[in-house]
């Protein structure tokens, strides 16, 4: 077999399944969203479902909420993740054994499904949850229901907490792996050239790990933006995040609503792609190097 053909042939079985199922579904969704192959029998091309989204207040509010939650969850996770990785990295200067258990602890949330974490958050923070009962038992709250509402709340605290809990360790592990790959000799060189620990971090370590972190945080952003199960459990009914709204409309008993629901889902994907593009542009300006895309 010619070397150039080898990767194509090797990947073909996977590519056929992916393109057939995913690409086929996407194409069918796209066609139905513009009025073709509709289940109701209507077969006239129209962009009316997309135009309608521009005046759909529920969609616009959901969009704003999704951007807000995804941005904040990514930013906080990035900040916490990088801080944890830095602490562990510099901690291991003192002795690797001291940080081994912290590193192990960091990996625990990675192994937990998002759904499980959402249930844990619900169990901890709901008005009848563990924290409210502890607060009541300690006399910090006059009654359990007086505990602040932190799930299914207006500020989406529960959703943010679940994602930060899950994604901050993920980004910390990514940052730590990349930091470990930066030779310690660079530290010695930088120190003898007059750099303090902070300057070393700011001018040597951060720029070297930043491209990888941009890629990883991009994945976090895109995931949270289109998330479904965590916002369903921990978010409010209105406004719901886009993933929940899309699913709700798609599951409508009235098949006439199906093209509009598909238009919403595809618009969501398009907006996510645009946001990723903006994120990459901004990141490249900050980092100065093309981030590694997954």
């Amino acid at each position: 077999m010619r070397p150039a053909l080898r990767p194509i042939v090797t990947l073909a079985p996977l590519a056929i399944v992916l393109l057939g199922l995913f690409g086929g579904g996407l194409l069918l969704g796209l066609l139905q969203s513009v009025g073709l192959f509709a289940l109701t029998g209507s077969d006239a091309f129209t962009l009316s479902h997309y135009r309608a989204l521009l005046n759909d207040r529920e969609f616009l509010v959901s969009l704003a909420l999704s951007v807000w939650v995804a941005s904040l969850a990514t930013a906080v996770s990035l900040l916490l993740g990088v801080t944890m990785a830095t602490a562990l990295h510099y901690g291991s200067f003192v002795g690797a054994s001291r940080t081994r258990w912290q590193r192990t602890l960091l990996q625990v949330p990675l192994a937990m499904p998002h759904l499980s974490l959402a249930l844990v958050v619900l169990h901890l923070l709901s008005p009848s949850g563990m924290l409210s009962r502890v607060a009541y038992a300690l006399g910090l709250a006059p009654e359990p229901s007086a505990f602040p509402v932190l799930v299914q709340d207006a500020a989406s605290v529960g959703i943010l907490l679940a994602y930060v809990w899950k994604e901050a360790p993920f980004l910390a592990v990514v940052a730590l792996t990349m930091l470990t790959r930066v030779s310690r000799d660079f530290d010695d060189a930088a120190r003898t050239l007059g750099a303090t620990r902070w300057q070393m971090w700011r001018r040597v370590h951060l720029p070297l790990v930043a491209p990888g972190l941009v890629s990883a945080s991009l994945a976090v952003f895109a995931y949270v933006f289109g998330a479904y199960e965590v916002p369903l459990l921990l978010g409010r009914t209105y406004p719901a995040m886009l993933g929940v709204l899309a699913e709700r409309r798609f599951s409508s008993v009235d098949l006439i609503d199906r093209p509009a629901a598909l238009a919403l889902a595809l618009a969501m994907s398009l907006i996510a792609a645009m946001l990723v593009w903006v994120y990459l542009r901004l990141a490249r300006q900050l980092v100065g190097e093309r981030p590694v895309l997954f």
């Binding site: 030779s183 660079f186 120190r191 007059g194 750099a195 001018r203 040597v204």
Partner: protein, 340 residues
């Protein structure tokens, strides 16, 4: 970049260890301001450790390091102004050549216009004036080390520390870079400590050599001293002196190039020379010279170097030595580095 800031370097009874393993044992050494001293020694002798102690990257377990009159022992590396150039250039891969060279000035917050001038000056000194915009990955190994040198000199250091910076380069390039480092060091008058395991490199670059053996300084002096009057048997051995047992049990050391091989039927040596019967083992052709290995009656094996005549293997020959070129060491002198 001026020479005004160059400091003498003084080590007083410095010991250092990695964990429980002692590496340096009570090292004392004085280096004058503007001098280039080579720390020479075999692998694992402690020479790089000594350099790290001077740089502040490793705290001594005892003793002090002075830059001039200032005791810098408690100062962290970043406050010593003693940049180190390593075996690998360690250029920061995300910065251009000019940004790498500007790094020490950036961390000192030197104004931009002044910074640009000094970076350009440093790059011109290492003959890389046009390379400022390149990234490290676009440079050859020799160019990388020249940038590392520029980065070390740009901030007018008190001391410059070079840790075998050319060891990864080919011989031609090494020769060129030795000359460049010597030229830059002399022009700027920077006190420089240069670590190497290569005698030739140490001899050609430095005004004095400090030979480090087994964690201590075995001898300090100009290169010539090591080839004419080694102070111990271990020093003599490291510098390639040939060693044999004398008639009185003492060790006799001589330079291979100062001895003569007397072939069967060959000319007798001058009057008064020490003549020892030997068996010729083999001869290696070095191009302009030959190197013959002989086994003496007492079992010692030695080498003789020069324009030697052809001698068949296993032939009975004689080794002739000028008594004026022989160094004698007591019979109980340690033959290896430990306990020099």
């Amino acid at each position: 970049m001026t020479s005004d800031s160059a400091s003498p370097v003084i080590l007083r009874g410095v010991s250092a260890a990695y964990g429980d393993t002692p590496v340096l044992r009570k090292v004392s050494l004085e280096i004058d301001a503007g001098e280039l001293v080579a720390l020479l020694g075999p692998s694992g002798c402690g020479k790089t450790t000594a350099l790290k102690v001077i740089a502040g990257l490793l705290a001594p377990s005892e003793g002090e390091v002075y830059f001039g009159a200032e005791n810098v022992t408690p100062l962290p590396a970043e406050r010593r102004r003693a940049p180190m150039v390593f075996q690998k250039a360690l250029l920061f891969p995300h910065l251009t050549v000019a940004e790498n060279v500007a790094f020490p000035l950036d961390v000192q917050r030197i104004p931009t216009h002044q910074k640009k001038l000094r970076v350009a000056e440093a790059l011109a000194l290492v003959r890389l004036g046009d390379f400022g915009a390149r990234l490290p990955r676009e440079l050859s190994g020799g160019q990388e080390q020249r940038v590392a040198l520029a980065r070390a000199i740009v901030s007018a250091p008190r001391v410059m520390l070079l840790d075998e910076p050319f060891s990864a380069l080919d011989e031609t390039l090494r020769g060129q870079l030795r000359l460049l480092v010597r030229e830059v060091q002399q022009r700027l008058g920077i006190t420089t400590v240069f670590v190497t395991h290569d005698q030739r490199e140490a001899a050609t670059m430095s005004s004095r050599i400090a030979l480090v053996l087994d964690g201590g300084i075995a001898q300090v002096g100009p290169a010539r001293d090591f080839f004419t009057k080694p102070e111990s048997l271990a020093v003599a051995r490291f510098f390639g002196w040939q060693v044999l047992h004398g008639a009185n049990g003492n060790w006799l050391a001589f330079r291979a190039e100062q001895a003569r091989l007397i072939a069967p039927g060959g000319d007798a040596p001058p009057e008064g020379w020490l003549v020892l019967p030997a068996k010729h083992l083999f001869t290696t052709d070095l191009g302009t010279q030959r190197l013959a290995r002989l086994r003496l009656a007492a079992g010692d094996e030695v080498e003789v170097e020069g324009p030697l005549p052809y001698v068949a293997p296993d032939a009975a020959v004689a080794l002739a030595l000028d008594p004026g070129c022989i160094r004698e060491f007591p019979a109980d002198a340690p033959a290896t580095a430990r306990g020099w």
